[in-house]
């Protein structure tokens, strides 16, 4: 049986990954904007010039790039800052295949993702800690086509059209979701492993540390 190898990708160091740390005051949460640029492995957005490059699903559909942020843009969705990936011809998102993302060691409360799924998906995202612990965390992402938040997410982007390999379909909206995963463990997280599910696509990732954890960790009031 021929199989594609499932090597773990570890090209970035944790410090490379940290695009920005938005401290704020101790009375506000801290955000770590994480780079996923080296992991981009799928085209889920296209322009009208390269419609047939889309691989968001088995039908070759894609998001209209003109309705989404520019590569590398800093954006904010529902109060959560993100760094939009620096897309290229080969990829603009991470199709989830169990990739490991080493993160700046720290205590985090929430993993925020801009994500889309081909049909609803519900899978395990692993959080790894400095003491060797690994926690399986549930990540649910709703269908990009329907617009129903099956997991109670907020829509991050809703487009007015959908791209097909040979045409632009007006009046067929798509949705990219603001998903989040809680990290209940009080420990120093060092890495995340994305789910192993080809239906799931991640476009940006930000880690949030809440006020109580920051204060407990010694942040000045």
């Amino acid at each position: 049986m021929s199989q594609i190898s499932s090597n773990t990708i570890r090209t970035h160091t944790p410090s490379d990954r940290l695009l920005d740390r938005l401290h704020g005051k101790a009375s506000a949460p801290e955000f770590c904007l994480i780079s996923i640029d080296d992991l981009l492995n799928n085209r889920a957005t296209t322009s009208t010039e390269d419609l047939d490059s889309g691989r968001l699903n088995a039908w070759g559909n894609s998001f209209p790039a003109e309705e989404l942020p520019a590569p590398g843009a800093r954006i904010e969705i529902a109060g959560i800052p993100f760094a939009w990936a620096r897309s290229h011809a080969e990829g603009d998102n991470v199709r989830c295949e169990g990739q490991v993302i080493e993160i700046p060691p720290g205590q985090y409360d929430w993993i925020y993702l801009l994500a889309a799924s081909e049909r609803r998906s519900e899978n395990t995202l692993w959080a790894h800690y400095a003491d060797g612990t690994a926690d399986p965390l549930r990540l649910g992402v709703s269908d990009f086509l329907d617009g129903t938040p099956a997991f109670g997410e907020l829509p991050a982007f809703s487009t007015e059209r959908m791209h097909y390999p040979h045409h632009v379909q007006q009046g067929l909206p798509t949705t990219m979701w603001l998903s989040r995963v809680g990290m209940p463990r009080r420990g120093r997280a060092t890495a995340l492993r994305l789910p192993r599910c080809v239906a799931l696509h991640v476009f940006a990732l930000t880690l949030l540390t809440g006020i109580d954890v920051r204060l407990a960790d010694g942040a000045a009031r």
Binding site: Q3, A58, N123, L145, H166, R196
Partner: protein, 344 residues
């Protein structure tokens, strides 16, 4: 003009196909709740080799399509095939059905339908509801995204309805299945059961029984049948014609199996709210997890079939996870049935 008295309601669900959507439209037209009727049954059934490349395929034999999808109601359906040489281009059969208060469900090819994204691009078998016919137009209702309700010229409808739906590389799942001017008549044939707590409890226990009883060689059913099917699937050699065929079958047959799981979860959630039994909501989450488990299996298979991403190790992992979730969900449903009987 021959038409129904009211504009049908567009009804669809994210996990659903045109099969549940069209039957739901008919049910709503006749005053029935689709979630109660189509969401009550939950099962796995497959007869090896028995499938067609149509979005609306569901293994129903020996029952009718509507009966199998609505096991706890006297909902029945029958396929008809209209003769193109008959008066009125064969549309008179549909006119007669409409005049009798029936909403005919027509088998069509999306390639010929101006409102479908596949119009003049991709051939694909689909269902829509016919709600009226004038001298020049057919009024149709299609709830599946992008959703359309309106009139199309008769020549367009006839092209879609009579299409040979040839094999199309752009849709390896739903092409190569002629429309053949088929139409489905679905109607409730008797009194519907009162959806009281006793009925709901019996529905849950019947579903559990079907999932937990053994499977046969001829028809794979329940947990045992699902295990066997997934084992067979994961043992295939990637890249062969037989494997391509099996992966196409997987995508087709599991669409409406997944849709039924999603709808059954919605049914359980509603019952949980109605009877204030938290175990029903928890069972709904478990059944939803099964529906989501199908996504991993289906899409891993679909990407192998379409994009050549042959990851049978992932297919096996998703299959194992699906069975694990099903096992948990069955226990949750049993707990919910017990709680319901105690609470009411």
């Amino acid at each position: 003009m021959t038409r129904t008295a009211q504009q049908p309601t567009l009804w669809t669900r994210d996990l659903g196909s045109c099969l549940h959507a069209t039957l739901a439209t008919v049910l709503l037209h006749d005053g029935h709740d689709p979630v109660t009727v189509l969401g009550a049954p939950w099962e796995f059934r497959r007869r090896p080799g028995d499938w067609t490349s149509e979005e609306y395929y569901f293994f129903a034999a020996p029952d009718s399509l509507a009966k199998r999808l609505a096991l706890f109601h006297p909902f029945e359906s029958a396929w008809h095939r209209s003769d193109a040489s008959a008066p009125g281009d064969g549309l008179d059969e549909l006119r007669n059905a409409l005049a009798a208060g029936v909403l005919p469900i027509a088998a069509v090819d999306n390639f010929h339908l101006p409102f479908r994204p596949a119009f003049h691009d991709v051939h694909a078998a689909h269902l829509l509801v016919v709600c009226g016919i004038t001298a020049s137009e057919v009024l149709v209702s299609d709830a599946q995204p992008p959703g359309f309700q309106g009139a199309i010229p008769i020549p367009d409808f006839l092209a879609a309805w009579g299409s040979p739906n040839p094999r199309d590389d752009a849709d390896v799942f739903f092409s190569a299945s002629p429309s053949n001017r088929r139409w489905l008549q679905a109607r409730m044939r008797g009194p519907v059961p009162e959806p009281d707590a006793g009925w709901v409890g019996q529905v849950l226990r019947d579903n559990l029984t079907r999932y937990r009883q053994g499977s046969t060689e001829e028809t794979q059913t329940g947990m045992a049948g699902l295990r066997r099917y997934l084992d067979e699937l994961c043992a295939l050699t990637p890249g062969t014609e037989a494997t391509d065929e099996a992966l196409s079958e997987l995508y087709v047959i599991s669409w409406n199996i997944q849709a039924q799981a999603g709808l059954h979860a919605e049914f359980l959630r509603r019952q949980g709210e109605k009877w204030r039994v938290l175990e029903l909501a928890e069972a709904a989450a478990g059944v939803d997890a099964v529906a989501h488990g199908w996504t991993g299996v289906r899409m891993t298979g679909a990407h192998a079939r379409v994009w050549g991403r042959q990851r049978f190790d992932e297919l096996r992992a998703h299959s194992t996870e699906l069975v694990r979730r099903l096992d948990i969900a069955l226990d949750q449903v049993e707990r919910a049935a017990d709680a319901l009987s105690k609470a009411t």
